[in-house]
């Protein structure tokens, strides 16, 4: 089934424009850069929320009290195993219709991304805590440290070293996941790219630019994570 007509093919190559002619136009470039700034802000804010939630629930999953552990497990398993888009719709479309609480797109996306990623962070934090050998805990407790002091001064500093590389990978994945916010009309770089594409039909160069914008965030992050990982493992050996 060949449906390409001369006009659509012309559209595909940008109607005779040189590749790059659309995105290098100042107003279009500005639109994409504004979107990139929103993406960066969303990623940064949500990462803070995710880390906060992740540390709290990760520690909860290791405490010696069963109800608290169960609460941690429920949070982690539910939010980790449901799609981010459904969670975003839940905050964005669900709340205003029923409760008259209007969350602007950015705040809904911030909550959804933070809570979703927090569940993954909690798993990493828990694994990091469990990797600390029980002998250290016993030693700290028998030296007279309280449970909280042990967590604060013995467990968390050691857990930090084992959790940094996986946390870096989560930060990268979350940066990519901010693009889902474009589905609830957050004007991030994905949303503005779609907008620009529907105005100009310069699909290839617009999507190449949006892709480059994401690569410009994820590639430096992954270089950083690799370097950190190498440094941390060198200390351990």
């Amino acid at each position: 089934m060949l449906t390409a007509t001369p006009t659509t093919l012309a559209g595909a190559v940008g109607a005779g424009r040189a590749f790059g002619a659309v995105v290098t136009q100042p107003s279009n470039l500005q639109l994409l850069l504004q979107g990139l700034w929103v993406t960066i802000k969303l990623a940064a804010f949500s990462l803070i929320l995710a880390l906060a939630l992740g540390v709290v629930f990760g520690v909860l999953r290791t405490v010696p009290l069963r109800p608290l552990r169960a609460a941690g497990t429920a949070y982690v398993e539910f939010f980790r195993n449901t799609p981010l888009l459904v969670q975003m719709y839940y905050w964005y479309f669900g709340l205003p219709v029923l409760a008259g609480v209007t969350l602007p797109g950015f705040q809904a996306a911030f909550l959804a991304l933070g809570i979703y990623t927090g569940a993954f962070v909690a798993e990493v934090v828990r694994a990091g805590i469990l990797a600390v050998s029980p002998g250290h805990l016993e030693a700290a407790r028998s030296l007279g440290l309280s449970y909280l002091q042990t967590v604060r001064h013995v467990v968390l500093p050691q857990a930090f070293a084992t959790t940094v590389p996986p946390l870096g990978n989560l930060a990268i994945a979350m940066t990519k996941n901010t693009s889902v916010a474009s589905a609830i009309a957050v004007q991030d770089v994905m949303y503005n790219g779609n907008l620009l594409n529907s105005r100009t039909f310069a699909t290839y160069e617009v999507f190449a630019s949006v892709g480059l914008a994401y690569l410009s965030l994820t590639v430096p992050l992954s270089v950083l994570v690799n370097r950190l990982e190498r440094r941390l493992t060198r200390f351990r050996r």
Binding site: M1, L2, T3, A4, T8, L9, G11, A12, K41, F45, E77, F78, R80, N81, T82, P83, L84, L85, V86, Q87, Y89, Y90, W91, F93, G94, L95, V97, L98, A99, V101, L103, Q107, F110, L111, I172, K176, N177, T178, S179, V180, S182, A183, M190, N194, N197, T203, F207, V210, G211, Y214, L215, T218, V219, S222
Partner: protein, 251 residues
Amino acid sequence: MDQAAFVATVCGRLPAVCRSMETLFDPRRWAAFTELSVWQNTVLVGLRATLSMAAIAMVVSLVAGLALALLRVSPFAALRYPVGLLVETIRSLPVILLIFFSSLFLPRVGLAQDPFVAATAALAVYTAAVNAEIMRAGITAIERGQIEAARSLGMTYAQTMRHVILPQALQRVVPPQVSQLITLLKDTSLAAVVGVNELTRKMQILYQFERPPNPLQALFVAACIYFILNYSLSRLSRRWELGVGGAIDLH
């Protein structure tokens, strides 16, 4: 934007967000889900599309991922580096970008008008790149001594791969592959934004026409279905892991 003001507005809305959870238990808004026709025409139809997207994308991406992984560990640098660059680039892009692009690109070159095909293709390409990385890690984790032993026994490179390395590597990558399948199942929901009638979009259509509107309920049901699928997959994977661990201990 003023960070403090942002935090203040978000925190200010949180009590109202919590209060609104009461409407989740409003029986009138649950009425739709007591009807069999809703389950048949909305939930099951959407679920079938979701599952077939995930199944097709997984099968394609497993085969493609294995091929890409073999190219990435090949002895020829001319194959290794371009494939590595391709895999790393695709892996670093958001899935939704690939879905948008493929739903615009495929119809333009006259390949597929159906958003289902475009979204499945995008999911397969992305997952193939991730699978390639998982399998490459599995292959390189096999001790060098085994390769050397096989080669010195007179096996060719292909025979070594086929009979010595792959059987072990593929067994080791089952747990990460299952978690990738879970990610894929969740990512199929992104196809809703290009108009594929899978579970998430079917539920959206449902709550937009219900009176009184029930988005919290419909999305909650959708979330629960995804949860049941993914949670049982992760349980199965954990059991498999324990089983293989036990088998290794017997040696």
